[in-house]
C-alpha cells in the first residue's frame, strides 16, 4: 500500500497542494475583499437632510444618496438624469416630464411622480432659486406614476437650469413620506434613489459617514460627465472621513491612509504636488470668490460713494498672493459672476482696475459724508481663507489713515451670528465682514445670493436697488444664452455702480487623490461626484 510516510514524493505533492490551497484561498479572499474608497471631505456630514441647510457638505451627501431630475455635465450644461423625456408648450409655460424606467428607492419601492412633486415642493420652500421658480409656478402635478406636469405663470426660462444646478441646495428627489416633512424640520430617514445607500448604523457625526453601493441602481447609458451621464459605481463602499486638521489630512493622503482629499489646504499643495502617486485636479469653474461685504444700512456704506471708494483701497493681487500663493491657482477676476463661466464679464470695473489711490478714496469718503466714525470690522480668526483675507484687508485699510477702524476679533461662528444684526455698529451691528462664495453659485445672477439687492429680502448687508433687481428678473426670463450674456453685462455695470459688495479675488481649490490607486476621478465645482471612480 502506498502511504505518505513511505513515499516522500507524496508528502511533497501534499505540501504543494496545501500551499496552493492556502495561497488560493488568500487570493479568493483578496478578491472578495471590499473595495473601499476613503475620502476626506472639506467638512463633516452632520446633517442628513440636504434641504435643511445650504452647507455644501449636505449637498455632497445628497448627491451620494439621492438622484436628481436633471444634472449638469462637465461643461455645466443641463442634461436629463431621472427624466427620460420632456416637452415644452409653445408658450414655454407648460413642461411635461416623463421619468425613466427602473428608478427605485433604496427600500425597493419605485420612484413615482408623486415623490417628485412632493420633493420639489419641499425644496422650493428652502432654496433661493427654488423659491423663485415656485414663485412662477402655477401648478406642479403628477399626471400618472411616471409623468408630471409643471405649469408656470410666466415663461420662466431657467426651469431646467435650476433643476440641474450643482450648488446648494440641489433639487433632490426623496420619497413622498420624507418630502412631506416640514421644510424647516430635519428628516429622520435617509432613503434615496441615488447610486449609494447611507449607512445610518455606521454614521458617527464628527468622524465618519459611510455609504455602500446601491446594487439596484440603474445608471443612464451615457458615459459619466460631471453630475450627468451614467452614475456607475465601481467601489463597494465609500467612507467620508472627517479630518478637521489640515496637516493630518495631507499626511494621511501621503501615507496612503485615505485615497481622496477634497479640499487640501493651499499651503500644503507644493508637498502634495511633489509626492509620487498623488495628483491634483481642478475643474475650470472650481473655485472660491472672496466677498468683502459692506453694510448698506449704516454710515458710511449707506452712501454709494463710500462703497465705491473701497475699490480704490482694495488690491485683489494682495489677497491672491496671501490666500493662494501658487500663481497657477489664481485668477485676477473682475467679474461679479466669476471667471471661466458663461456669464463672465468685467463690464463696469474699468475705473477700479488701475492703480489704487488712497487720495481718491479719501475724496469719495468725504463726498459720502464720512466724519471719522469707527468702521466696525468683524474679523474671523479661525477660518482657512477668511482669516488671512481679513489681515490683508485691515493692512490695506490702515494705509488710509483717515479711516477709523474698529477691528473686532471673533470666531467664524460669532461672525455668522453677528452679521444678522441690523442695528447700528455702536449697538452691536457691523460695517464690514469678509466671506466667500463658490464660482458656480456666483455664475448665475439668480443663484448668486449675495449679489441680490432686494433691500430687506437681500443677503446680510441688505443692498437695495430696484433697477438691479429688475435686470435680474429680466435675466431669469431671457429666452436664450445670448440674451442672458447681454443682460449679464448690464447687471455687471449696475453692480459696479452700486457696489453690493467688494469682490476681491478668485482662486481654485484642487482636489488631491492617490492616482496610483484611483482612476476615473472627475472634478466638478462645489459638489464632487464619487461614482465612476475605480480603485485598484
Amino acid at each position: 500500500m502506498l502511504t505518505r510516510a513511505k513515499n516522500p514524493q507524496l508528502w511533497l505533492a501534499t505540501a504543494v497542494l496545501a500551499v496552493a490551497a492556502v495561497l488560493g484561498s488568500q487570493v479568493a479572499l483578496a478578491q472578495q475583499k471590499e473595495k473601499v474608497l476613503r475620502a476626506a471631505m472639506h467638512a463633516d456630514v452632520r446633517t442628513v437632510d440636504p434641504f435643511w441647510t445650504t452647507q455644501t457638505i449636505a449637498a455632497i451627501h445628497g448627491l451620494m444618496v439621492y438622484d436628481t431630475l436633471f444634472s449638469s455635465d462637465i461643461n455645466l450644461e443641463p442634461k436629463p438624469q431621472m427624466v427620460e423625456s420632456w416637452t415644452v408648450s409653445p408658450d414655454r409655460k407648460v413642461y411635461t416630464f416623463k421619468l425613466r424606467d427602473g428608478l427605485k428607492f433604496h427600500d425597493g419601492t419605485a420612484v413615482t411622480s408623486k415623490d417628485v412633486v412632493a420633493s420639489m415642493n419641499r425644496w422650493g420652500k428652502r432654496d433661493g432659486a427654488g423659491k423663485q421658480l415656485m414663485g412662477y409656478t402655477k401648478s406642479l402635478t403628477a399626471r400618472d406614476a411616471k409623468t408630471f406636469e409643471w405649469v408656470l405663470t410666466e415663461p420662466f426660462g431657467l426651469l431646467i437650469d435650476i433643476l440641474a444646478k450643482t450648488g446648494t441646495s440641489i433639487p433632490f428627489v426623496m420619497r413622498e413620506k420624507e418630502a412631506m416633512v416640514d421644510a424647516f424640520t430635519q428628516i429622520q430617514e435617509v432613503v434615496g434613489s441615488g447610486p449609494f445607500m447611507f449607512k445610518r448604523d455606521e454614521w458617527v457625526p464628527g468622524s465618519k459617514t459611510v455609504y455602500v453601493k446601491f446594487k439596484d441602481y440603474v445608471p443612464r447609458k451615457e458615459p459619466a460627465s460631471g453630475h450627468a451621464g451614467g452614475k456607475v459605481v465601481k467601489v463597494d463602499r465609500v467612507e467620508f472621513i472627517w479630518l478637521s486638521d489640515t496637516q493630518t489630512a495631507q499626511s494621511a493622503l501621503v501615507a496612503g491612509e485615505i485615497d481622496y482629499l477634497e479640499n487640501p489646504a493651499i499651503d500644503f499643495l507644493p508637498i502634495l504636488k511633489s509626492t509620487a502617486g498623488i495628483k491634483l485636479e481642478a475643474h475650470k469653474a472650481m473655485g472660491t470668490m472672496g466677498i468683502l461685504q459692506l453694510n448698506h444700512l449704516h454710515p458710511p456704506f449707506n452712501n454709494v460713494k463710500a462703497r465705491q471708494a473701497m475699490y480704490y483701497l482694495i488690491n485683489n493681487a494682495d489677497y491672491l498672493n496671501t490666500i493662494a500663493a501658487d500663481e497657477g491657482l489664481q485668477t485676477l477676476c473682475f467679474s461679479y459672476f466669476g471667471c471661466g463661466v458663461s456669464m463672465e464679464t468685467d463690464a463696469g470695473s474699468e475705473p477700479y482696475k488701475g492703480a489704487k489711490s488712497v487720495a481718491k478714496a479719501e475724496q469719495l469718503f468725504k463726498e459720502a459724508g464720512y466724519k471719522g466714525e469707527p468702521i466696525t470690522i468683524l474679523q474671523a480668526t479661525d477660518h482657512q481663507y477668511i482669516t488671512p483675507a481679513n489681515l490683508v484687508m485691515i493692512q490695506q485699510l490702515r494705509k488710509a489713515s483717515f479711516l477709523k477702524l474698529d477691528v473686532q476679533a471673533m470666531d467664524w461662528g460669532s461672525v455668522v451670528s453677528r452679521r444678522a444684526k441690523k442695528e447700528a455698529p455702536a449697538q452691536g451691528g457691523w460695517n464690514i465682514f469678509i466671506t466667500g462664495t463658490t464660482v458656480v453659485t456666483s455664475s448665475s445672477p439668480i443663484t448668486h445670493t449675495s449679489i441680490g439687492m432686494g433691500c430687506d429680502k437681500a443677503w446680510f448687508g441688505w443692498p437695495c436697488d430696484k433697477r438691479f433687481e429688475d435686470l435680474r428678473q429680466e435675466w431669469a426670463f431671457a429666452p436664450d444664452l445670448a440674451t442672458r450674456k447681454k443682460l449679464a453685462v448690464e447687471l455687471s455695470r449696475r453692480a459696479y455702480d452700486q457696489v453690493p459688495y467688494i469682490s476681491f479675488a478668485q482662486w481654485r481649490n484642487p482636489v488631491a487623490f492617490r492616482s496610483d490607486r484611483l482612476s476615473g476621478v472627475q472634478t466638478m465645482p462645489s459638489v464632487p461626484p464619487m461614482w465612476n471612480i475605480e480603485k485598484k
Binding site: T54, G128, T168, F184, I241, D245, A252, A255, G413
Partner: protein, 313 residues
C-alpha cells in the same frame, strides 16, 4: 468611611446644579447662533430666522433654561441640533476612544514619570537629575500638537511603522487599537510625565532627607527597598494628588490630541460642538466632564487612606 462617601456624593448635587446653570448661561450669553451655522453661508436672513424658530432658539432664555432643566432632571441630555441624534448616543459613540486614550496616557505617564522622578531625587544634582528635569521643562514647554506632528512625521510618514490618524476600536483586536493609540498617547503623556516627574522628585527629595530614611540606610537596607518601600510610599500623597489634578490637564490635552490624530473621542466632539454652537452637546459634555472630575477627586481623597493609615474619614 461609607458615611463620608455618601456625604461627598450628595455634595456633588449642588455642584452639578451650579455647573448646569453656569454652562447654560455662558453659552447663551456668548455670541454665536447655531441657526446661522445650520442655514449655511448662502441662506437668507429669513431662512435663518425660520430655523431659529423651529429649534426654539427664539424663546426667552428663561424658557429655554426651564426646558433644558426639565430634560436634565429626566436624565435627558438633549438632542444634537445638527445631527438630530441624542447627546447620550453621541457620547456613547465617542467614549471608548477617549477612555482608551486617557488610560493609555495615564499608564505611560505613570510608568515612566514616577521612576524618572525617583531616579532624579536619588541622584539629585547629578547629570541624571538634570536630564530628567530638562525633559520635564521640555514636556511643559513644547505644545502637544507640535509633539504630535513630529511623531506623525517620524513614525508614520518616514518610518511607516504606525498610522497617521484614526482609531481602531477594541472590537477589531487589541493590537490594532494599540497601534492606533500609541502615538497620540505618547504625545499626550509628555506634559503629564513632566508634571508627575517633577512632583515625584520634589516629594521624594523631602522624604529622603527624613531621619527614618537615614536609619534605614544605616541598618543596611537595600537602596531599592529604601526608595520604593520607605520613601516612595510616604511621598505618594502629593504625587497621587497631582495625578488627579492632571486629569483636568488630560481633558484639555485630549481635545488637541484627538484633533491632531483624528481620534473620534469626546475631545473632538467638544471642539466641534463649540465651533458649531451645538448647545445640547456642549452642555451635556461639560456636565459629564464636571461629574467625572468630582468623582476623580473623591477617589483620590479615598486613596489617601491606603497611603497614610493616619488619615481617617
Amino acid at each position: 468611611m461609607t458615611a463620608y462617601i455618601v456625604r461627598r456624593l450628595l455634595a456633588t448635587i449642588p455642584v452639578m446644579v451650579v455647573v448646569a446653570l453656569f454652562v447654560f448661561l455662558l453659552l447663551h450669553l456668548t455670541p454665536g447662533d447655531p441657526a446661522a451655522v445650520i442655514a449655511g453661508d448662502d441662506a437668507s436672513p429669513a431662512e435663518v430666522e425660520g430655523i431659529r424658530r423651529k429649534l426654539g432658539l427664539d424663546l426667552a432664555i428663561w424658557q429655554q433654561f426651564l426646558i433644558y432643566a426639565g430634560n436634565l432632571l429626566r436624565g435627558d441630555l438633549g438632542t444634537s441640533i445638527f445631527s438630530n441624534l441624542p447627546v447620550l448616543t453621541l457620547v456613547k459613540q465617542r467614549l471608548e476612544p477617549s477612555l482608551v486614550l486617557a488610560v493609555s496616557t495615564l499608564v505611560i505617564a505613570i510608568a515612566l514619570a514616577v521612576p524618572m522622578g525617583v531616579l532624579a531625587a536619588w541622584k539629585a544634582r547629578s547629570w541624571i537629575d538634570r536630564v530628567v528635569m530638562g525633559f520635564s521643562v521640555l514636556g511643559f514647554a513644547v505644545p502637544v500638537f507640535l509633539i504630535g506632528y513630529l511623531l506623525i512625521y517620524v513614525f508614520a510618514i518616514e518610518l511607516r511603522w504606525l498610522p497617521v490618524q484614526g482609531y481602531r476600536p477594541l472590537a477589531q483586536g487589541i493590537e490594532q487599537t494599540a497601534r492606533s493609540i500609541l502615538l497620540p498617547a505618547i504625545a499626550l503623556s509628555m506634559v503629564y510625565m513632566a508634571l508627575i516627574a517633577r512632583m515625584t522628585r520634589a516629594s521624594m527629595l523631602e522624604v529622603l532627607s527624613e531621619d527614618y530614611i537615614r536609619t534605614a540606610h544605616s541598618k543596611g537596607v537595600a537602596t531599592v527597598v529604601v526608595l520604593l518601600r520607605h520613601a516612595l510610599k510616604n511621598a505618594a500623597i502629593p504625587i497621587v494628588t497631582v495625578i488627579g489634578i492632571g486629569l483636568t490637564l488630560l481633558i484639555s490635552g485630549v481635545v488637541i490630541t484627538e484633533t491632531v490624530f483624528n481620534i473620534p473621542g469626546l475631545g473632538r466632539l467638544t471642539v466641534d460642538a463649540i465651533l458649531k454652537r451645538d448647545y445640547p452637546i456642549i452642555q451635556g459634555l461639560i456636565i459629564l466632564f464636571a461629574g467625572a472630575k468630582v468623582l476623580v477627586n473623591l477617589l483620590i481623597d479615598i486613596s489617601y487612606v491606603f497611603f497614610d493609615p493616619r488619615i481617617r474619614y
